[in-house]
Subunit: 292 residues, 2 copies
Amino acid sequence: MLSKMKIGFIGTGVMGKSMVKNLLLAGYEVNIYTRTKAKAEELIRQGATWTNSVAEVASQSNVIITIVGYPQDVMEVYLNDNGIIAHANPGTYVIDMTTSKPKLAKEIYEKAMEKGIHALDAPVSGGDIGAKNGTLAIMVGGDEDAFNQVLPIFKAMGENIILQGKAGAGQHTKLSNQIAIATNMIGVCEAIVYAKKAGLNPARVLESISTGAAGSFSLSKLAPRMIEGDFDPGFYVKHFIKDMTIALESAEEMGFSTPGLSLSLQLYKQLAEKGEADSGTQALIKLFDSSI
Amino acid sequence: MLSKMKIGFIGTGVMGKSMVKNLLLAGYEVNIYTRTKAKAEELIRQGATWTNSVAEVASQSNVIITIVGYPQDVMEVYLNDNGIIAHANPGTYVIDMTTSKPKLAKEIYEKAMEKGIHALDAPVSGGDIGAKNGTLAIMVGGDEDAFNQVLPIFKAMGENIILQGKAGAGQHTKLSNQIAIATNMIGVCEAIVYAKKAGLNPARVLESISTGAAGSFSLSKLAPRMIEGDFDPGFYVKHFIKDMTIALESAEEMGFSTPGLSLSLQLYKQLAEKGEADSGTQALIKLFDSSI
C-alpha cells in the first residue's frame, strides 16, 4: 500500500510548507488543504495537489497529516461533521503534528478507532530550520503498528523519531520539551541583562559561559539574537503561550506544581500584552531590560 | 621571570587538587597550603611543596592562586594581618579563582595595587571533570598586562580563558553563568517530573528532547542522574546557594529584578533545609517529586 499511498496535508504554515516540500522530494503524492489558499500556491507549483476542503483531503488520502494552530483548530479539523474522522476511509492513518492537548489526542484516537482509522499524535521540535532541512525531532504517541506503517513518512521530515507511548504520549513529550525551554528562557534573559548591567560585553560573556555548565540551545541560538536586537519570530510568543498554557493545565490535572513554568507563562503573557505576541520568544528580554 | 616562577596555591579541595596536579604536570614548582593538611598529602607526594601558613606561601611565591570556599574565606586569606596582601612581595601576581563577590574582588585589587601587587579575579566553570582534564573555562577580571603575564598558567588549567574586563569582571561573568544555570535547573526538574507523572519513560523522553531547542548541559548531564537517583555532588547544593546569594545581592545592588534567580534560590534553600546541602545540585528534583 505505502508505495502507492497518497498523503493529505492540512495546514501549510511556516512548518507545514517545508514538511510538504520534503514529502514531495521523497516522491510522495501530496493532497493539500489550508484555510488561506494563497499559502499553498508555491506548493502547488512544486507538485502538490490542491483540494477544496478538509472532507475532500480526508476522503482522497491514505495518510492524513495535520499541523494547524491551536487545539480548537485541531478539534474542528478532526471532529466536526465536515472533519477528518467523519470523511476518512477505514484503514486511513491520521497524524496530528500540531502541539496540542494530550487529552484531545486521546479523544481523536478513540473516535478514529471506532471508525477503523489509525490515529497518531506526533508533535515536532526543531523549528523552521528543522522543518526545512528535514531534521525535526518527532515525538509520537499511539499504536506501534501504526507507527511502523508511517515511519517512512516521518523519516522524510525528521531525524529523531521516537514512539513515546500510547495516544497522547507524543503531546506529553512535547509539553515536557516546552516546560524545559520555558524556565530556561528566564535564566538566559537574566544572565544577559545581568552581564549588561554589570558593565560587561554580553557577547564576550556568552563566549565564556555558553560552552560550559550554563550552556543551552537558547543561550547559544537565542541570546545572540537578544544581544543584536533581532526579535524576528523563529518561534512566536503567542504559540509559546499556547503551549505553556496547555502544559500548565495538564500539570494541574496531574496535581503537579510547576513554579518555573507558572512564572514563565506569567512573564510571556505580560510580554504579549505589551504588543509582542508576534515576536520571537527571544523578545522576553524586553521585560528585563527597558533599554531594549 | 616566568620560567623560574614559583606558584603558591591555597585551597586544595576537589577543584584545587586537580588544578595543582595540572600545574605540576606543566612543570611549575608549586607551594601549597590548605587548612587541612591531610587534603594536601597526595599533592606533596606528587611534588608540591608544603608550606605552614598563608603568610609563608605569600612570601615565597611569585604567583599566588586561591580557590577557597566562601567570600568570608577569600577576605581572610587576602586581607587579614597574616594574609596574602600583607605578606606577598611587590610584583607578585595574585589570582582568586573562588566564585566570590565582585565587590570583594575590586577591594582586593585596590589593596593589592597599593603594595605593588597585581590582582586578578578568575573564577572557573567546568566542575571537577574540567579541573581534572585541564579544560576549565576561566573568566578573568583585572588588568590586561597582568592577564597576559599569567596566561601560560591559566592555560595549564583551562581552555576557554577570556579577560572579561576590569577587576570584578571575572566574578560578574561567573555570576551570569550561575544565573543562567539557576533557572534552567527548575525547568529540567519540571520537565522530567512532568514526563514521569504523564506515565512516560523519562529516559526515553530525554532522547526526544535533549538534542533540540530544549537542550542544555543540565538536561544532558544532570537529568540522567536525577532519573537514576544519583545525587552525588558534582557541584554542591550549599555552594550553589552561596553563588546564587551573591548573584542576587549583586543584582539587587544594580536595581535589577531577577524573578527566576529568586525562585531558584528559594527552592534550593528549601532543599538544603531538607538535609540536602551536601548533595549535588541535581537533587533539586526531590522537591518536585516526593517519591524520589
